[in-house]
């Protein structure tokens, strides 16, 4: 398989509008990527005061994924295995600065820390995350990158709300989408950033059905267990309980076209958008 990372990431990069630049001392093995993401109207959450959590998750997965991939070179490239994220504030002035650096580079796995800060709010921390990826060797060898790596997306041509762009539809207590070709990652499977967005939408769908008020995801732990190849892909959330900071839900994502295989399992905390910032 020819692993054309930049072509495969084009649609995702363009929709979320994250510009990425390598700022680490790559010649000496240091890999640090800084992403810049403007707060665009089509990415706003229910309160219209900041980027919706699903988009933030996707941006973090995207920047963290590139960092992990570059760290895995020249031996291989990566596929995300799990993403843990805590959002500190749902209000963003923008642009967001998303910095990803390597915490650990092992033979089989790469661990990346990603922190998003808000340039428009005195560099306040917006979210902190850790992305773990498995190192795999593509049949045709790892992708070629010009270093320092840099990607600048073209303007978004389809600035629709996230659920519209992804083609997400409600299916009773679940949400569902098809696996479009432009949403696949370089490995030909549903992009991790898209899965993360779908988890967010499923969790908000389930909690919103209880609270009947605008909600936002504040915390996600997401395990990628199997690839999404066929579709449609369904995400269903089960609310486990409520606390001062919101409802805790378990989300299961399945590929219906692949024997309903479990693709991902996540735990998410979802809160009312007026509950603390």
């Amino acid at each position: 398989m020819d692993l054309d990372v930049q072509r495969a990431q084009r649609a995702v990069t363009q929709y979320f509008g994250v510009e990425q630049h390598e700022i680490g001392d790559y010649a000496n093995g240091e890999v640090i990527i800084e992403g810049i993401a403007p707060v665009q109207p089509h990415l706003l959450g229910a309160a219209k005061s900041g980027i919706r959590s699903g988009a933030l998750l996707a941006m973090i997965d995207h920047v963290g994924g590139l960092t992990a991939g570059l760290a895995a070179l020249p031996e291989g490239w990566v596929v995300s295995t799990n993403l843990s994220l805590r959002i500190a504030t749902l209000d963003h002035a923008g642009p967001l600065r998303i910095r990803a650096e390597v915490l650990r580079r092992g033979r089989a796995a790469v661990v990346i820390r990603v922190r998003a800060t808000d340039d428009g709010a005195g560099t306040r921390t917006v979210a902190d995350a850790v992305l773990t990826s498995a190192v795999l060797v593509p049949e045709t060898g790892p992708p070629q990158w010009q270093r320092p790596a840099s990607t600048v997306p073209a303007p978004c041509e389809d600035p629709q709300p996230l659920e519209v762009w992804l083609g997400v539809r409600a299916d009773g207590d679940a949400v569902e989408m098809d696996v479009r070709d432009d949403l696949r990652n370089p490995w030909g499977i549903l992009h991790g950033a898209v899965v993360a967005s779908l988890v967010d939408l499923a969790a908000e769908h389930a909690v919103g059905a209880i609270t009947h008020a605008p909600v936002a995801t504040a915390d996600v732990v997401l395990h990628f267990l199997a690839p999404g190849r066929v579709g449609p892909v369904t995400a269903r959330a089960e609310v486990l309980g409520e606390r001062a900071d919101g409802h805790v839900a378990r989300v299961e994502v399945r590929d219906r076209g692949a024997d309903n295989r479990v693709m991902s399992v996540a735990t998410a905390t979802v809160r009312g958008v007026d509950r603390g910032k």
Partner: protein
């Protein structure tokens, strides 16, 4: 026959005086591939609000998840790569039940999910990733019977002699800054000779709780931990904590763990939430 010292050590883990014995867990490996454990809530496990703290659950989860993943990865061995815990209730009495199941059994990782219940209802959910490691002679030897009756590590004389944090030697160096130290002692070592992953999570719990109580101005308790393990802690553990959000109802902190005896190497990083009602 000459005895292999590594094998002898492996068979004798945990030692007679060890946290895993004092916790007095009953463990059962079931034919359906799940494992269950039961913990009796005793006064030594309670915090100043009268409930079992998140770090104790992390320790149980690490233990039962570790057992199940080791069984899944056999004959190879495993090490905890990450552990997350989300609580939705409090355990103040009776018995806590933990049920673990395998979400993914891969060549290089095993992913486990654990659900927790108290006598009063659901307590929370945990997930863990374990890295699969080539077996070494000094790794413990497992009984790989698929379904085993309830077993326990308890020996005559097992049981806490002091509150858990005192038994472990946890010292709060600077509460508001979330600086905590924990020595590595035989009582709290894992089978590799380093600090138990659950105890690292417990230290993170204490550090974040102290810092967030100061920042929130209310007696919040830790309800979520997302722990990423980067290296073993073999020397004294020390935490550093950054509060990134605080309100009277809940707060968020980032905690890093260093090994002060290994050139202050960062061994663990965590994101922690504390809330007032869990």
């Amino acid at each position: 026959m000459t005895s292999d010292p590594g094998q002898e050590e492996a068979r004798s883990y945990p030692p007679e005086l060890h946290l895993l014995r004092d916790l007095a867990l009953d463990v059962e490996h079931r034919a359906d591939g799940t494992s269950a454990a039961w913990l009796k809530v005793v006064p030594e496990l309670l915090d100043d609000t009268g409930a079992v703290r998140a770090g104790v659950f992390a320790t149980i989860v690490d233990m039962i998840g570790g057992g199940l993943s080791a069984q899944t990865a056999a004959p190879n061995w495993i090490a905890t790569a990450d552990l997350t815990l989300h609580l939705v209730g409090r355990a103040t009495r009776g018995t806590v039940e933990a049920v673990a199941r395998v979400l993914r059994a891969g060549r290089t990782t095993v992913v486990i999910e654990v659900s927790l219940r108290s006598v009063d209802g659901p307590l929370g959910i945990a997930t863990m990733t374990f890295s699969v490691l080539p077996r070494r002679d000094d790794n413990p030897v497992l009984n790989l019977t698929p379904a085993a009756p309830r077993t326990s590590l308890v020996l005559p004389g097992s049981g806490f002699r002091a509150p858990l944090l005192a038994e472990l030697g946890v010292t709060v160096v600077d509460a508001a800054a979330g600086v905590v130290e924990v020595p590595v002692i035989d009582y709290s070592r894992n089978s590799m000779g380093a600090l138990q992953g659950g105890i690292v999570a417990l230290a993170i719990d204490v550090a974040a709780e102290q810092a967030l109580r100061a920042a929130c101005g209310t007696p919040v308790r830790v309800s979520d931990v997302q722990v990423t393990y980067l290296a073993f802690v073999r020397g004294t553990l020390r935490t550093s904590t950054e509060v990134v959000a605080a309100s009277p109802g809940f707060g968020t902190a980032l905690v890093d763990v260093i090994d002060v005896d290994a050139e202050t190497r960062r061994t663990t990083t965590a994101r922690v939430v504390a809330t007032k009602d869990v």
